[in-house]
Amino acid sequence: MIYFALLILVIISYLFYYIGKKRALNLKFNGNIKLSSQPDYFGYYVVLMALIPALLMWFGLLLFKGNFQEMFVMSPILFPDISTWSDGKLGLILNKLNNLSVIVNLPLDDLTNGEKSILNMASENELTAAKNLANFDKIYGWSNLTLFIILPIILGFLATRSISGKLNAQPIVEKIITYIIKGSSYIAILITIGIFLSLVFEAINFFRYVNPVDFFFSTGWNPNRAFVVDASEGFDKDDLENAFGFIPLLTGTLLIATVAMIVAIPLGLMSAIYLAEYASKRVRDIAKPIIEILAGIPTVVYGFFAALSLAPFIKDVGESVGLPVSAESALAAGLAMGVMIIPFVSSLSDDVIKAVPQSLRDGSYALGATRSETIKKVILPAALAGIMGSFLLAVSRAIGETMIVVMAASLRANLTFNPLEPATTITTQIVTSLIGDVEFDNPKTLVAFALGLTLFLMTLLLNILAITIVKKYREKYE
C-alpha cells in the first residue's frame, strides 16, 4: 500500500513538473507572453504547490492515527467502564482487538480451528469493536490514498491554472526550498531536544516511584523488586528502597572502562607514535588500515568474542595459577572493549602528533636528542592537550559501549573494584530492563530512562570537555 502510494507520488510529481513546464512554454511561444522565470521553475512551482500540503496532512494523519483509532474503536458506548481501565488492560484489549480485526471479516471456511475458538471466546461488544477497527483501517487506508492522489491533483490543477505572465515562479520556488533547507538543518537540533525530552520525561516518571537521593546514592540494585508489587495498586516507596541504587552500576561501568583504558591507551598511543614517527611509508600504508579494521568491526562481534573465547580463557588462566576468576569477569569485557578502542585512540592521537610542527622536532634533533627523547620530551608535551582530549573521547566511548558488556559482563550488580569479579554496567542494565515486557507505568522499565539520562549527561560532559581541550590545543599551533 505504502509503496503504491509512494510510486503514485513520484509519478504525479513528474507529471505536474511536465504539465507546469509545458504550460509555461505554451504561454511563451504560442501566447507570446513574456515570462518572468525560466519554464523549469513553473514545473517546480506546480510540483511544490501540489505536494507540500498533501505531505504535511499525511504526516499529521500518521501522527494522530492512534488518537483517531481510539476514538473510533475504544468508545465508551462499547465499553462502558473504559475510563476505569489501567493502561495495561487497555493495551491488552487493544492487542486482542487487533488480532480479532484480522479474522473477523473472513469467511468461516478460511479460519483455522484456533482462530474459530478465538472468535467464539470474544464478547459481542469486542466483536463490534474489532469490526470497527477493521473498518477504521480501511477508512484510514482510503483517506491516505485520497490525500496522495486527489488532493495533489486538485492543488496541482489550481497551480497550473495560476501560471501566467504575472506569476514569477523562481523567487517563490527558491523561497520554499530555502525553508526546506533551513528546516533540515534544524532537524539535528530537534533530535537533540527529542533525546533530552524523552529521557527527562520518563526519568521524571521514574522519580515519582523512586526517591532521587535513593537512586543516586544507594548501593543496592535489585530491580526485580518492582515485579513483586502490582503496578496498578501503586508502589510504596519503602518497597523500592535499595531496589534501584545507581552506585554499583557506576562502579562497574568505571571498572570495566578502566580495564579498557589500560589496554587501549598504551597500545593506541604507542601504535600512533610508531606509525607517525618511526614506520616507513610502506609499513604505515599496510598497518594503519589493518588497525582501522578493528574500528569497523561491529561491537556485537567483540561481545561474542569476549563471551565465547576471552572469558573462558581468562578463567582457565586464572584457575591454573590458583586465582578464582568469574566466568563473567569485568576483565574479559574490559579487554575486549580495550581492543575495540585501540584504533579510536590511535587515529585521534595520530592526528594530534602529526599536527605538532616539524620545527619543534628539528630543534630537538639539533640539540642532539635521540628520536625517543624528542618524542618523550618535546612532541608528547606539545601534543598533550590533544592526546588528553582523545583519551576523554575514548573514555566516553567506553562508558557508552553497550553490546560488549551486555554479552560479556554480568547482570548482577556487584560493588567491587576487583576486575576478576563480575560487574554490571549502566548500559547492561538499560538493555536488561527493556528486554521483555515494556510497561511505561512500571519503574522497572522507567529506570532505563533515568539511567539513559545519567549516561547521556556523563558522555555529554566528557565530550564537551574533550572538544574544548582539543580546540584550545589546535589554536595554539595553527
Partner: protein, 416 residues
C-alpha cells in the same frame, strides 16, 4: 660514552615498544577473524540422510486432485514418522523415538514443500535427502566428541550405531546449506536461516538512507552555503558534534520513548529501527558533506554567479554535483556503521524471535546484528555456528560497503 649507550638502548627499547603495540593490535585483528572463520564455516553445510519417501495418500489425506490449499494444510507429521519407520524397519517404540530424533523435527515441512512443488508425486516413491538434526550434524562435523561417556553426549550409543550403519551405506552426506540464506529464524539450529534478519536490516537501511541522506545533504548545504557563521550556526555545529558522540543506546531510548511511546509507531519494526539509525547517521553525513562542500573551490561559485545564476542555481547546479562523491562516501560509511549497530535495535524491540521473512518496513523483524546477538545467547552448539556465520555475512556486507565508499572516493572525487 656509557650514557650514550644507555640513551641509544633506550631509543631501541622505545622503538620496540611501538612495534610491539602495532604488532599486537594487528594480532588482535587476526585472532578475531580466525576465531570467527573457524567456528562459523560449518554453518554453510548441513548433514542430510538419504531416505525413501512414499507419499502415501492415506497418511496425508490428500489425492491427486487436491487443491494447493489442501496440500498446504494437510498434516505431514504422520507421514514423516512413517518415512522413518519404513527406512528403519523393525524398531521398537523406544528405538523409533531415538531414530526419529536423528532427523530434524521440521522434516514434515520439508515433505510439504516438496509436495507443493511436485503435486504429481502423490502416491509415488522417491529418494529424498532429509536434513539431520542439529546434534547429529554436530557429531558428523566433528564438533561434538564421539569418544566421551554416553551420558555426556547428546547422541547416545544406539543412535551412533545407526549413524555408522547409515554412513557405511553411503546415505549420510553433506550438502550446501541454502536454507541458511533463504529462511527466517527457527527454534532448531538446522533449519534456522539469516534471510529474515538480512531483509530486516535492508529495510531499516533503506529507511535510514531516505531519512538521513536528503536531510544531511540539505542541512550541510544550508550551513556551508547559505548562512554566515554566527550564533545559530555555532549552536548547530556544537550540537552536531555532540550528537555524533552520543552513545548509540541513547538513540535507542529516543526511539522507544519518542517514536514508539509518544508518536505510537509499532514495536519491533524496521521503520522505527531505520529512523533511529538515521538519527545516528545524520551527524556523520552532515560532517562529511560539509567537508566535501568546503573543498569545492570558490571560483566555481563565482563563475556561476558571474554569468547571472542565482545563489540557489549556483548551489544546486554546480556546487552540489561537484561535492556529491564526497557526500556519498560519507553516507556509505555512515550506513555501514548503522548496519553494525545493535544496541538501538535492542531498545526498539527488533530482537524478538521472528520466523517470517519481513515483507516491508512495517512487518516485525530482527536486524542482522540483533539476530547475531539472539543466536549468541542460545546455548546450543548449532547456534554457535550460525552466530559466527552470521558475523561473517555481516562483515562481508561491511567490507562491500566500505570498498564501495573507497572506490567512489578514488574514481569520482575531484582533487582541486
Amino acid at each position: 660514552m656509557n650514557s650514550l649507550n644507555k640513551r641509544l638502548s633506550a631509543e631501541k627499547r622505545f622503538q620496540a615498544y611501538g612495534l610491539f603495540a602495532v604488532a599486537l593490535s594487528m594480532f588482535f585483528v587476526l585472532i578475531l577473524m580466525w576465531k570467527i572463520f573457524s567456528t562459523g564455516s560449518g554453518a554453510f553445510v548441513r548433514t542430510t540422510i538419504e531416505a525413501n519417501v512414499f507419499f502415501n495418500p492415506d497418511f496425508i489425506q490428500v489425492n491427486q486432485n487436491s487443491l494447493e490449499k489442501e496440500l498446504y494444510r494437510a498434516s505431514y507429521v504422520a507421514l514423516a514418522d512413517e518415512v522413518v519407520r519404513q527406512n528403519h524397519p523393525n524398531l521398537n517404540e523406544e528405538q523409533f523415538i531415538k531414530v526419529r530424533e536423528m532427523y530434524t523435527r521440521k522434516f514434515d515441512y520439508q515433505l510439504r514443500d516438496y509436495l507443493l512443488e511436485n503435486p504429481d508425486k502423490i502416491g509415488q516413491s522417491i529418494i529424498m535427502k532429509i536434513t539431520a538434526s542439529s546434534d547429529l550434524d554436530q557429531i558428523v562435523k566433528g564438533n561434538y566428541p564421539r569418544d566421551v561417556p554416553e551420558a555426556q553426549r547428546k547422541i547416545n550409543d544406539y543412535q551412533l550405531s545407526v549413524l555408522d550403519k547409515l554412513t557405511s551405506e553411503g546415505k549420510v552426506s553433506s550438502v550446501f546449506n541454502f536454507w541458511f540464506f533463504t529462511k527466517g529464524d527457527s527454534r532448531d539450529p538446522e533449519t534456522a536461516g539469516i534471510w529474515g534478519a538480512v531483509m530486516g536490516s535492508l529495510y531499516a537501511l533503506i529507511i535510514c538512507f531516505s531519512f538521513a541522506f536528503p536531510i544531511g545533504l540539505l542541512a550541510s548545504v544550508y550551513l556551508e552555503e547559505f548562512v554566515k557563521p554566527g550564533k545559530v550556526t555555532d549552536i548547530i555545529e556544537v550540537n552536531i558534534n555532540n550528537l555524533a558522540a552520543v552513545p548509540s543506546i541513547v538513540f535507542g531510548l529516543l526511539g522507544l520513548g519518542m517514536l514508539i511511546g509518544v508518536i505510537g509507531l509499532p514495536y519491533q519494526v524496521p521503520l522505527v529501527g531505520g529512523l533511529v539509525l538515521g538519527f545516528m547517521t545524520l551527524p556523520t553525513i552532515i560532517i562529511a558533506s560539509r567537508a566535501s562542500l568546503r573543498s569545492v573551490p570558490p571560483s566555481i561559485r563565482e563563475g556561476a554567479l558571474a554569468v547571472g545564476a542565482t545563489k540557489m542555481q549556483t548551489v544546486f547546479h554546480h556546487v552540489i554535483p561537484l561535492s556529491l562523491p564526497g557526500t556519498l562516501t560519507g553516507t556509505i560509511i555512515g550506513m555501514a556503521q548503522a548496519l553494525g549497530e545493535t544496541a538501538p535495535l535492542l531498545m526498539i524491540g527488533m530482537v524478538a524471535f521472528v520466523m517470517e521473512i519481513p515483507g516491508g518496513p512495517l512487518d516485525p523483524a530482527t536486524g542482522l546484528p540483533s539476530q547475531i546477538y539472539l543466536w549468541s545467547e542460545s546455548a546450543e552448539r548449532g547456534f554457535l555456528e550460525k552466530t559466527s556465520a552470521g558475523i561473517m555475512l555481516l562483515l562481508l556486507f561491511l567490507i562491500i560497503m566500505n570498498t564501495a565508499a573507497v572506490l567512489i572516493r578514488r574514481r569520482l572525487e575531484i582533487k582541486w
